[in-house]
């Protein structure tokens, strides 16, 4: 379980996240919705340690990890798939996966599991990641995160800018992971319909604050869109 408590994050003097509380339930999916510039990505970057919060805390299964560096949080089970289909472009697909499997006793099994989830990657193992399509790179990014053996997976707009057929594959994979158990997901997503269907709980953010929250199943996309003033 991941808890963000009263998190305040600033760039220099400008505070962009103003005391946000988010709870990602055990084996559940918490979705954060909001317009561009609402502070969603900043919130996630603070959760994984890429940004130091001005105040507040990040708890992973009750342990305060606020002062830990990102790689230390990964080792404690907090994996992150950043926005923009990021991979190591000059490394091959196989090397991208091997990189995170290195030093893990279950590295090979986890790599196989991740490739089972995205079988298209098996045929691309020798190709440099920089030559993959956006959808393939995103699948690679999620596979890489899964090999680290996460308890909580943080995904920042995993379907943004990706062709529709691959969007469905990625959405299906996220749902399959959540159903498998043992994994909680914190998801920032622009596709409101999918987000609400997947969500255990949802949060709407505006101007760095949570302005609405509820259970995923109970909310209609239209109601949430109205809160977000779409």
């Amino acid at each position: 379980m991941l808890e963000l408590r009263d998190l305040r994050v600033a760039y220099g003097r400008t505070e962009v996240v103003h005391g946000v509380d988010v709870v990602v339930p055990r084996d559940g999916i918490a979705v954060v919705l909001g317009h561009n510039g609402a502070g969603k990505t900043t919130l996630l970057r603070a959760a994984v340690g890429m940004l130091k919060p001005r105040s507040g805390s990040v708890l992973l299964d009750g342990e305060d990890v606020t002062r830990l560096r990102p790689h230390q949080r990964v080792r404690r089970g907090l994996a992150y798939v950043p926005q923009g289909q990021q991979s190591f472009p000059q490394l091959t697909t196989a090397e991208n996966l091997q990189l995170v499997a290195d030093g893990r006793r279950d590295g090979r099994e986890r790599t196989d599991e991740a490739l089972d989830l995205f079988p298209a990657l098996r045929g691309l193992l020798a190709r440099r990641a920089g030559l993959l399509s956006g959808g393939q790179r995103q699948q690679l990014a999620i596979a890489r995160a899964l090999i680290t053996g996460p308890r909580v997976l943080v995904l920042d707009e995993p379907t943004e800018g990706i062709q529709p057929s691959v969007v469905t594959e990625i959405q299906d994979a996220i749902l399959a992971l959540a159903r498998r158990g043992g994994l909680s997901v914190l998801l920032v997503e622009q596709h409101v319909g999918f987000a609400l269907s997947a969500a255990t709980t949802y949060y709407v953010m505006e101007s760095g604050r949570v302005t609405g929250t509820g259970d995923g199943g109970s909310a209609s996309a239209d109601a949430v869109r109205s809160v977000m003033a779409f």
Binding site: V48, G49, M50, R69, P70, H71, V74, R75, Y80, P82, Q86, S87, F88, P89, Q90, L91, E95, Q98, L99, V100, D102, G103, G130, R144, A145, T148
Partner: protein
């Protein structure tokens, strides 16, 4: 024909020295963007390591073989010490780093003066590296051939480490995206330290090699450091392949100019060539959108 081969050999020899020095810079400058002006002094430390080992062991041949790994260790540890105490506090401040490492270079030069004296110390060349071998009808000194072999071996070993080992994957990943590497569970600070260790250790090995062809004195690092940076920048920052080609290219070019001109004029002509080349190709010989080491 002999004259052409002679100049080519002189160029290859100079190129192999530049390559040994530039390889370390390719790692530290390429991965971390650190302009380490004390890199030349790590080389000097490697050369003095050879001298000290020779004083202790006696035999020049055995000393050389012991000095190679030891100089790697000495250079590497000096590098880690510098990285941990100063450079790690100056990331994203390249000009400050340049000034601070230049200051460290001066301190190390003075330290060498205090310990070993200002005049050059004598490092004996092993018997088996004295004299020439005949290559295609032109003489090539055994010492310079040894350096060429050492440089090519260093390139090969570094290439294998970068391409096929977990450490190599980590180094390449950090070069390409530090933030993504950190969020993929890689301790980028530890990787930085290891990279600095290897890069500085290579400078130590270069120092051992230089004892065969140059005098061992406190300022020897300064002679080569600017040329080594030229190799790294013109080869494409962070590109081992670029460093190899540019080291031998610049070495042969300088030897060619030196055939018909004075050494100073040859150096000026070489600099003009590099400046003209960087005007046309500011990214260097090889480049990718993200910096890469292979």
């Amino acid at each position: 024909m002999d004259a052409v081969l002679g100049q080519l050999y002189a160029g290859l020899s100079l190129g192999s020295v530049l390559l040994l020095i530039a390889l370390g810079l390719t790692l530290t400058f390429g991965q971390m963007g650190v302009i380490n002006m004390a890199h030349g002094e790590f080389l000097m430390a490697g050369a003095y390591t050879t001298y000290v080992v020779q004083q202790v062991v006696g035999g020049a041949g055995l000393s050389l073989l012991i000095a190679l790994p030891l100089a790697f260790l000495v250079g590497g540890l000096l590098g880690v010490l510098l990285e941990t105490t100063l450079i790690s506090r100056l990331y994203s401040r390249p000009l400050d780093t340049l000034l601070v490492t230049w200051g460290v270079a001066l301190v190390l030069q003075q330290l060498a003066r205090d310990v070993f004296g200002a005049p050059a110390v004598e490092v004996r060349t092993p018997e088996w590296l004295k004299g020439n071998v005949d290559l295609f009808g032109a003489p090539f000194t055994k010492g310079r051939l040894f350096i060429l072999g050492l440089a090519l071996t260093a390139v090969l070993v570094l290439g294998v480490v970068l391409r096929y080992t977990a450490l190599g994957r980590r180094i390449r990943a950090v070069v390409q995206s530090r933030g993504l590497a950190e969020t993929s569970g890689i301790d980028t600070r530890a990787t930085d330290r290891l990279t600095f260790f290897i890069g500085s250790g290579l400078a130590g090995i270069a120092g051992v090699a230089l004892t065969l062809i140059a005098s061992t004195q406190p300022y020897m690092g300064q002679t080569y450091i600017v040329d080594a940076f030229l190799v790294v920048v013109a080869g494409g920052v962070g590109r081992v392949r670029g460093a190899v080609l540019m080291a031998f290219g610049l070495g042969v070019l300088q030897a060619t100019f030196a055939y018909s001109q004075s050494v100073s004029t040859a150096k000026v002509l070489l600099l003009i060539c590099v400046i003209a080349f960087l005007q046309v190709r500011p990214q260097g010989l090889f480049s990718v959108k993200s910096r890469s080491l292979v």
